[in-house]
């Protein structure tokens, strides 16, 4: 399928070229984010009636994993409020052109950390505490505030959006899965970029800021590290940057062979499976262990969680592919073939999320009217009763997602196997078994 340039349409073009529509959404998001922090800290401690829990972990998460990531890739990053205060502080301006001289330290991010390992760790840190984080408004408020302050702190020390690029716990997997999305930001003509003087898309100009994500758009080959902030569309003097509609998972045809990204795929796949077992499964003792942070049982849970992600799943994968040796190095084959786990992992998360989102979505109505649990009834929905939604389509929907994910990953595996010059069968077997386990856990 050919690509369709969306920025060819004047309405879309002017909506992204003009910074005000996006800024308006960003300010709204920032207001919502700050309100979520406030609700977490002063609102009712009952999670199901607190804005911070219901709107962050149910409404936002559902939108992110079921809509934003699969269809818009890093679309969430385009409107994410977390980097804004730090960025405004860093630039000393909201919309005005930046000063030539940096206001803060503006250091380059350390070379050894220019990968997503820190994001892998930050995600896992939250994941290990997720049972408490997802249900306790106070903790959610503190974590949200912590991310905001971390982003502000990093903005004063390092240049651009270091937090988004290297530390954000969700940014890592959004980037990984954004490769599957049918949308991309790319240059139109490489030669134009080659000849372009000053590279305002990277360095900034009077029309906008240099790429906050530290990416030179001329070299963009995949979605992972483009935050769709639209600055390059505003700064490009040659109108050489487009947003395209493209086939799903177009980026995965040319897999990268980075171990940090390969392990991200294992982390996400494994986490979805552990969550499905612990949060949705019938094993009360596991739930208790996951919830009892700091106890011996929790340490066992954490150790098992980490072992599954870092040892068991990668080892089994390595074992599967090790029988077919060829000239490509094992490390490269491992990383390349793990690309097949990206669509599989995404669909695992879709299937897992469907379950708790449909179960808990009705809390949104009551919480909308009484977000702090103070007895308000802003939209006359405060008394809306909790009721699981669409229960009859849940299991078929999950099965469809998992089987669809398996087929999708099989196709990706074939392409990755061609790239690594090795048979795809071992990867298919691995994905098939993982899907069976997930089906057993969920359906």
């Amino acid at each position: 399928m050919a690509r369709v340039e969306l920025t060819r349409f004047p309405l879309i073009k002017s909506a992204v070229k003009n910074r005000w529509p996006q800024l308006a959404v960003l300010i709204l998001m920032l207001a919502g984010y700050l309100f979520a922090i406030l609700a977490g800290l002063i609102g009712t401690p009952v999670g199901s009636h607190n804005f911070s829990i219901v709107f962050v972990w149910i409404a936002w998460w559902a939108t992110l994993i079921l809509v934003a990531v699969p269809f818009f890739g890093r679309g969430w990053c385009a409107v994410c409020p977390i980097p804004l205060p730090g960025e405004w502080l860093q630039r000393g301006a909201i919309v005005a052109p930046p000063d030539k001289k940096p206001k803060w330290l503006s250091l380059r991010w350390p070379r050894g950390l220019r990968n997503i390992w820190l994001q892998n760790i930050s995600f896992l840190l939250l994941a290990l505490f997720s049972s408490v984080l997802l249900t306790t408004p106070n903790i959610t408020g503190i974590v949200l505030a912590g991310m905001l302050f971390a982003a502000i702190g990093l903005s004063t020390v390092f240049e651009r959006r270091s937090f988004c690029r290297y530390l954000c716990p969700v940014g890592g997997f959004i980037g990984l899965y954004s490769q599957t999305a049918p949308i991309e930001l790319r240059i139109k003509d490489k030669q134009v970029c080659v000849k372009c003087e000053g590279k305002p898309c990277y360095n900034g100009s009077a029309d906008g800021y240099g790429c906050p994500w530290d990416v030179f758009p001329g070299g963009l080959a995949k979605n992972s590290y483009c935050g769709l902030c639209m600055e390059c569309i505003r700064t490009c003097p040659h109108d050489n940057i487009a947003i395209n509609l493209r086939p799903f998972s177009a980026d995965l045809a040319k897999p990268s062979a980075r171990m940090d990204e390969a392990f991200k795929a294992f982390i996400m796949l494994g986490s979805a499976m552990v969550y499905a077992g612990v949060l949705l499964g019938p094993w009360g003792a596991m739930k208790d262990a996951a919830y009892s942070v700091g106890t011996g049982a929790w340490f066992v849970y954490a150790a098992v969680f980490l072992a599954i992600i870092f040892v068991i799943m990668p080892s089994l994968f390595a074992l599967c592919i090790s029988r077919f040796e060829n000239l490509t190095s094992f490390k490269k084959r491992f990383a390349t073939l793990s690309t097949a786990l990206i669509p599989l992992g995404l669909m695992f998360w879709v299937a897992f999320s469907l379950s708790f989102v449909l179960t808990n979505a009705t809390y949104i109505f009551a919480t909308l009217s009484d977000p702090l649990g103070l007895g308000w009834n802003l939209f006359r929905t405060a008394e809306a009763a909790w009721q699981p939604m669409l229960t009859s389509v849940l299991a078929p929907g999950q099965t469809l997602a998992l089987v669809g994910g398996l087929i999708w990953s099989a196709r990706t595996a074939q392409k990755a196997a061609n790239e690594a010059k090795t048979p795809s069968i071992p990867v298919l077997v691995y994905c098939f078994i993982a899907t069976l386990v997930m089906l057993w856990l969920l359906v």
């Binding site: 800024l23 308006a24 300010i27 709204l28 920032l30 207001a31 919502g32 700050l34 309100f35 406030l38 609700a39 002063i42 009712t44 401690p45 009952v46 199901s48 009636h49 607190n50 301006a93 909201i94 919309v95 005005a96 009484d370 977000p371 702090l372 649990g373 103070l374 007895g375 308000w376």
Partner: protein, 331 residues
Amino acid sequence: MKRSELLSRVLITVAILGAVGMPLFFWMGTPLIHAQIAEDGGWSPDIIQAEVGQPLHLRLTSDDVIHGFAVGQMEMDAVDVEPGKVKDVTLTFDKPGIYTFFCTRWCGLNHWRMRGTIEVNGSNADAEPVPAIPLYVTLNLDIDAPHESSVTPSSQPSAARGQQLAGDLSITPFTDPGFYRANAPYQLFEALAPGNLSDPERWDVVGFIWQSNTTPEALANGKRLYAQNCAACHGENGAGDGVFADDLARAGESSMQNMTGASGMTMKTPVDFTDPRQMLGASPALLQGKILRGGMGTGMPMWGSIFTEEQIWDLVAYLYSFQFEYQGEVQ
């Protein structure tokens, strides 16, 4: 500063004030009474001030599980306090004093510790009634002393059979409420002349006399109070096997016994009202005393500030229905 920069800064300031300032303002103007299980602090605040004759508006919310709210010594229906929701309650006190409010839902092991006080100030036209001295005090009863009955019936005494037998007996001295409240059933059993009656028949007469000292309404009220306040520990059928009974025993073993200087203060397994030796050896006055004062370290709460005297007598009457087969079903 350019206009666009100024506009964006204004917009952001307005958004932050709207998202944080306004909710904070309303939050500060909405005082709530928070309920949490006793282990996490119970009611907060747990002391509330009020004025005689002035409506007291309370806004209650639960921070964990479902709790109930009621005020002792007061005619009011308990209200449920649900997690994350707010319940409005308006109370008006016509007498000054210190009232106890308490949780009416079995929210946790220490549910009965969930209490607070409402200090009602002011004066009213009526002179404040002098609190009645409880009967157990008047009778100088040691309510902590063992009170086992040395005789017990071989089968459950029947008030209906007792009524048939009583027609031929001279029982007038025993039907007086004063006698009933001050004596244990076994004392009446012993006082009834054996005459031509067998032991089971004497117990039937005791059952009849005990029932004649109460009414179906009082028994029904006692049953309701029992189900709401006592059954959690003493069990729905009075056998001392309520849902918290095992936990209370465990808690007693793990905590109270280890307290320095409190080796005697052991949480006990809740009393079994179906045990004839215990119940037939206890007078209504003794049971009233135990309910009024509580069990002093045994885990039995003090109900004197919550139940009215009439409610306690109703409850006592109901407790004997675990021993005697009363006529008509207790509603």
